[in-house]
Amino acid sequence: MVPNHSSAAKAVNYLQTRHRFHWGEAIPWILAILVFYFLPGYRLLATQILVMIIFALSLDLIVGYAGIISLGHTAFFGTGAYITALLATNNIPDPIIGLIAAAFGAAILGFLSGWVLLRTTGLTLLVLTMAVTIMLAELANDFDEITGGFDGINFTNSDIFGLIELDQLWYSSSYIYVLIVLFLSFLFIRTIIYAPFGRMLIGIRENPRRMSAIGTPVHQRQVIVYVVSAAIAGIAGALWVQVQGNVTTEVYAFELSGDVLIMLILGGTGRLYGAFLGATVFKILENVTEQVLGTDQPYWQFAIGLVLILTVLFARRGLFGIFEDLGNKWKERGQ
């Protein structure tokens, strides 16, 4: 490729290099490692943030890329959580087996519900996904002999590969374990996004009829991405309960579906790192607002609401969009 500055060459260059790793992509991972060393007292919170990033990423795959809006993504999160917890209480306490089983279980549920629900769109789809979650929450509450119901159950996992204990006070091994799973899930999702399959998803998001007209089996492809997303959400749910050693019906809470959607909107949908930023900002505001303000009065809901409103008003592409704009400006200056 002869370097020149014509717009066509620029476009070719962009298409050829956009999937390559940019140095800026190292920043979140470096931050994650710094947090591990410098904030041990907040490590359980930090671990929870990492899990929420995985969950938000899985939702981004369907909301941000495929344009499937769901208010019931906790159905898969919760299913993964319960599968792992119930395996652990029934003498299969291995965390890795728990993760895999959770992914499969959530994927099967994703297939069954997606096959039916994805025939609808818009408001109908929104309400139906919500209904599935609420039904599952009621089931978990009713069969409390098995699930522990509202009070939940405590369980302990065995060591990872029989070597590394998931410790319950400093959460150092848990943090690294979750960080590794996050990294792998991220690589997987990133690969999908930049593969032709990912381009096709964006096509479906932008105009399903046209995609159908050029020969894409839209419903089938939507189900596929829904299943993949469900499996990753299941992994997130499994990690969530493995780290805490405790599961309650809250993993099916419809509010959690809303929270994760807010995280995504905060960070920016359809842009991978939006999930990182959104989940981090949301969880920090939720847990630390009062500590920063030095008060016992609850201000966290106000803080989240304020940031959310400012984001939708002034940063339509989410907080990550602001960084993109800054990056572009900097580039222009450099040229």
Partner: protein, 405 residues
């Protein structure tokens, strides 16, 4: 000479230790409760109770001081309470954790404190088997079994109930409560003809269909368990709207359905309601009258105390007892548990004690009836059961009889 040096060294070391032990020390404790969301009112009551005790008993710790760090548990489930507890223990280095309104809050904290050996004083969380989950936990609140068994026996023996329908909010305390009621009621020859789950604890449901179903069974008594908070007023109003009293059905329950902070809002629908509970603000004891007076002086005449507030008050009394036992040294679980097992206190609710075996509360249970007096609803104690233990643990039913750590 050698001996002398050694002896003096020992003496110096000893004085350093003793001086250190009697130096003024600030004890940091963590308080975890809901400060926002649907249960914020409960969290506020509990915090008010705790703060009131601290205010009235400033001199009890001598030169030591206490610093209470409050964290919001936000939701009934585990994760947020647990993250708060981890942060409190590892970063703030608190020496004791207290508060804990919801049972899942307390249960999720148990493995953490088992590892850090931090003592916990539970001010509310009522699921019966919680103290079995950690040797570092004591509870000053109540269990569902204490009131449930007694109201069951009372209904069968004194209220002429042959049959009863039990309605409950469908979560573990609700199930605990009706199991206890059935145990007491059927033990005295009554019969529970129907058990109706009435929705989850999160939102107040429309009770009409549930009560209609109960009415159609024509029982003598309707036993209702709902969680403390907003459910109670809806229960009383639905009971009246369906004219169940005229149909000869008596409404009974644990004191959660006549919580003091809710009572005045229930109107005349509540008159005649019979409940069993460990506290209501109209108890005649001198301790209680002083307590109610101090509470109203502090928080205003329109903000009455209730059993959640008393839980906070008594919980803080237990914390003070533990700190007095530590007397300047680090407050370890061993010191706290030694001080609190068998701990006795003259509470506004009457004499209480922590059972040295189960680390759970032993307290009086009062049968009371709601009456109207000068335009106000009041509760009148009809009968007092002294020093009631938790029946579930005595009988070792299910998880109550197991060590869970």
């Amino acid at each position: 000479m050698k001996k002398f040096v050694a002896m003096s060294l020992v003496a110096v070391a000893f004085t350093i230790i003793t001086v250190k032990a009697t130096e003024a020390r600030e004890y940091k404790i963590g308080f975890i409760g809901p400060m926002s969301g649907g249960a914020a009112q409960l969290g506020q009551q509990m915090k008010r109770g705790a703060k009131l005790y601290m205010k009235l008993h400033k001199d009890q710790l001598g030169k030591h001081t206490i610093k209470m760090i409050v964290r919001d548990s936000k939701r009934p489930g585990g994760p947020i309470a647990k993250a708060a507890a981890q942060e409190l223990i590892t970063r703030e280095k608190v020496e004791l954790i207290t508060g804990l309104i919801f049972s899942p809050n307390a249960m999720s904290v148990a493995p953490l404190v088992n590892k850090s050996k931090t003592p916990v004083v539970i001010m509310n969380a009522g699921t019966t088997f919680i103290p079995n989950m950690s040797p570092h936990m004591v509870r000053v609140s109540f269990t569902m079994w204490q009131a449930g068994v007694i109201i069951g026996e009372h209904a069968a023996s004194n209220l002429n109930c042959k049959t009863a329908v039990a309605g409950y909010t469908n979560y573990p305390p609700g199930k605990d409560s009706i199991n206890a009621f059935r145990h007491g009621f059927e033990g005295k020859g009554g019969k529970v003809v129907d058990e109706i789950p009435m929705g989850g604890p999160g939102k107040v449901p429309d009770f009409t269909p549930f009560f209609q179903r109960a009415k159609s069974k024509k029982p003598n008594c309707l036993y209702v368990f709902v969680p403390a908070g907003n459910h109670a007023a809806a229960v009383a109003k639905t009971y009246q709207a369906l004219a169940m009293r005229k149909a000869g059905i008596r409404l009974i329950g644990p004191g959660d359905i006549t919580q003091d902070t809710q009572l005045q809002g229930m109107g005349s629908a509540a008159v005649g309601l019979v409940t069993a509970h460990h506290y209501h603000m109209f108890l005649k004891s001198a301790e209680n009258q002083a307590f109610v007076k101090a509470w109203k002086a502090e928080y205003g005449a329109n903000n009455p105390p209730d059993f959640v507030g008393v839980g906070g008050y008594d919980g803080m009394a237990a914390v003070y007892a533990a700190i007095r036992a530590a007397n300047g040294s680090k407050l370890t679980s061993a010191i706290a548990m030694k001080a609190l097992k068998g701990w006795k206190f003259e509470s506004p609710r009457g004499p209480i004690m922590i059972d040295p075996e189960t680390r759970d509360i032993i307290q009086n249970i009062y049968i009371s009836i709601v009456r109207k007096k000068g335009g106000m609803l009041v509760q009148e104690t009809q009968k007092t059961f002294k020093a009631v233990k938790d029946k579930c643990k005595e009988l070792k039913l299910g998880k109550c009889g197991k060590k869970l750590y």
